[in-house]
Symmetry: D3
Subunit: 182 residues, 6 copies
Amino acid sequence: MATFGLIDYDAASPEVRAIYDDIMATRHTDWINNFWKALAHDPVHLQRTWDSLKAVMAPGALDPLTKELIYVAVSVTNGCAYCIASHTVAARQAGMSAAMFAELMAVVGMANTTNRLAHGYQVAIDDRFRTPAPAVGNHGEPPVAAGGRKAAQTRAAASVKRATASGAAPPAAGQATRRRRR
Amino acid sequence: MATFGLIDYDAASPEVRAIYDDIMATRHTDWINNFWKALAHDPVHLQRTWDSLKAVMAPGALDPLTKELIYVAVSVTNGCAYCIASHTVAARQAGMSAAMFAELMAVVGMANTTNRLAHGYQVAIDDRFRTPAPAVGNHGEPPVAAGGRKAAQTRAAASVKRATASGAAPPAAGQATRRRRR
Amino acid sequence: MATFGLIDYDAASPEVRAIYDDIMATRHTDWINNFWKALAHDPVHLQRTWDSLKAVMAPGALDPLTKELIYVAVSVTNGCAYCIASHTVAARQAGMSAAMFAELMAVVGMANTTNRLAHGYQVAIDDRFRTPAPAVGNHGEPPVAAGGRKAAQTRAAASVKRATASGAAPPAAGQATRRRRR
Amino acid sequence: MATFGLIDYDAASPEVRAIYDDIMATRHTDWINNFWKALAHDPVHLQRTWDSLKAVMAPGALDPLTKELIYVAVSVTNGCAYCIASHTVAARQAGMSAAMFAELMAVVGMANTTNRLAHGYQVAIDDRFRTPAPAVGNHGEPPVAAGGRKAAQTRAAASVKRATASGAAPPAAGQATRRRRR
Amino acid sequence: MATFGLIDYDAASPEVRAIYDDIMATRHTDWINNFWKALAHDPVHLQRTWDSLKAVMAPGALDPLTKELIYVAVSVTNGCAYCIASHTVAARQAGMSAAMFAELMAVVGMANTTNRLAHGYQVAIDDRFRTPAPAVGNHGEPPVAAGGRKAAQTRAAASVKRATASGAAPPAAGQATRRRRR
Amino acid sequence: MATFGLIDYDAASPEVRAIYDDIMATRHTDWINNFWKALAHDPVHLQRTWDSLKAVMAPGALDPLTKELIYVAVSVTNGCAYCIASHTVAARQAGMSAAMFAELMAVVGMANTTNRLAHGYQVAIDDRFRTPAPAVGNHGEPPVAAGGRKAAQTRAAASVKRATASGAAPPAAGQATRRRRR
């Protein structure tokens, strides 16, 4: 069911069929899910939405699996049943294991709790968290403005730093300089 | 500022100091951010929250960077200024580059749009998205119940499948068997 | 289904029937939808809710169609399936065309994205956006406090200025005075 | 303040300056607000976001004022301080009077209440609200797919039906045929 | 600061002063907080909002402290800084202790987590949770429709059952009849 | 239905059965609802979630009924159908009457409205609401840090102050000292 009904491939206009074809080709599949069939009543919006989604979800500095995990995290937080169902399948196709899903849910649940605790306790933001990040990021890679999209740093390279990080709030920039506890 | 004020290390009780010490040791840092100082009025809740966070954010089937990206995605969706500030710093410490942040924001923005479009167009969930996933996941790894936490599959292994996935709704299980378009 | 069941007209108390009658008379219809039947277990709350809704949705400075579009926008953002279904029908009865619905969805989707980008990029509010608006509005109409409800300015009059506005962030007050770009 | 700082016009790359110029030209203004300066670190995302916003907010079946009112309604529901501030100014520039703003807030407040009441009372959706709308809308205008964007129906034409509509849930399609109350 | 500025008592119209006086009298205080001063530009909306709030928060089947705790819980979940600040003070005036606040935050945090887990794991609602509650409630008190407001059952009476309840999902109606585990 | 299916008692591993047994024993019931069966694929997360929920919902400074009312308020605000269904039953088991439920819904609806009005009118927080609360609370009870959990103050004691409080924004600390209206 959908507000203005669903437009199947056979009933679609040539311009809509062209979009459907691109969706199926991009996803290496042979069917169109209801989301697109519902939007098809407005080919202009359908085209804009698909073009943006295709560009946003394409491999870049973040791989498709990571992007799908983020998509599920947002959909779960918003309580969107349709998107949770579709992107959970998408994430699994992208390589999400049962163990990864379980951890994803644990992180999403944890974040939804601490988000409210921070609000509820009216916690002021620490000055150390207000420092703007250098435009070039913190790995010396070229700024995104300079075509960072193409120069995708490898996850491996990034992994070097990762080992040292865990827990909710991180050591802030300049933490290296020892300081008396207060 | 915080509802019941902030409890600094020097003013903290021995049990609270022990938690502060564990937080700093776990994060390889020498300071405690306001979030914990605000919760410290209730050591029991402080302990439970920190223990859960420490366990949830520890490396497992998902690496710390991926977990921080998910944490930021949820915090941004909920509009929690404190958590956005603290976890953006945490994500950068875990290896998030400027390019990764830009793509994270793009995915979060996209998901927040399609979540609403799916609601607004009252799109029914496709039957193919309703199929429950096999308990063992889709990589043949042992179920989480059987200690999957320890047997963390490598990202590399997962990456093999990733290349084929992109776009919002994925090919559903069993897509391999060709089917006439409808 | 509803938490305490639904109270149909025939089973309703005289006071509830009186409210049902007013709802049907106000809407020029001959049935009561489930929302009111579910609230009917508490006639006091039912009366207060209906009175407020009737007053809020009545034609005023904004016409019924515009109010229904706003109602749908909020319901979609909150993901309330019931309200999306009922108010989409209400909006269509008020004159919403398929083209208007498509644009409504596009704006709602866009706003949900930029809301998150503004949060995620931790964008500070521009000083120009902080200037309080003059109590009399910016069209010299009498303040609401002075019975503005009655003196509803025509959409036509308002339309004069509209043509010049588009895009997300508008020229701020005093934009007329040219200024060097910075 | 912003996560990666703000990029002013003078410090912007040629491609970013071109986008800034288009934003100012489209809005008939001479300044760029912080939102765009924060996104400028990722010209690709900046371009995509601006292009979508420009297209979505352009006059169509809905006028700019109505679109800004919807934008404010969504931003208020999401609690996005930045977007509330910027789009309230945008709405006023588009013709929103103090009376319109007051009614906008009343509708947004009302919708946020009934959204929760519908959830809380676990109200099932009435069958009459499930009927999909005809693809051609309910005014006999050509479907959006057939270039409805261009053939923007006049508000005046739509207004004819509006006078009869008010209240939350509307008479459903086919209400004309009288029916015994049940 | 507020969109149309704040209207102080001395600058208020007679009708607005009358509302201010009722607010201060009802609250046994001598000042008006910004929320009301911001709404005062629309006396009609101000009156409706205050009348509803006054009626809703008055002692009834739930005492003022319980109502304030609920108000804070909702405000924290929505991330409304203003309402969190004002209602936390209101709750404390109504008798909320530091221990009660800590437990309130813990429950709010927990609910925000399980809400997402239920969404994320796509958990179907158990049939036992779908049974509508008897209109007369489960204490044999007269239905609200029959003036239950006046016949407010005492907390003491309600407390009898409370001792046996704890944990998230309760034994469903008819649990008494033993059943084989499945 | 659930993402990875539901694990019934008979099919559960010994460690999962032990958790199921504790859930049933704690709740004095003989069945396990779907929520836990869906989480059971990850015994570690299941254990952590149940342990936290059990501790958070146990009687303390707030009684089980009050905690369930708060749980429903959050679930309704988040629009979580599963949690609304399960915790409404839980609240009724804990003693919630039809009248209490009606008032709960009224407060939740009211809070969701004023939360948006405060955002929409961009109301600045009054200085009086910013004063941090004394760590020992406002009843002279020992701070939570000093084992307040055990020394649960009686509701009766708290009730003394309650009678004087109602309405949204409370008299602020120090209101006693009379002040000229401004």
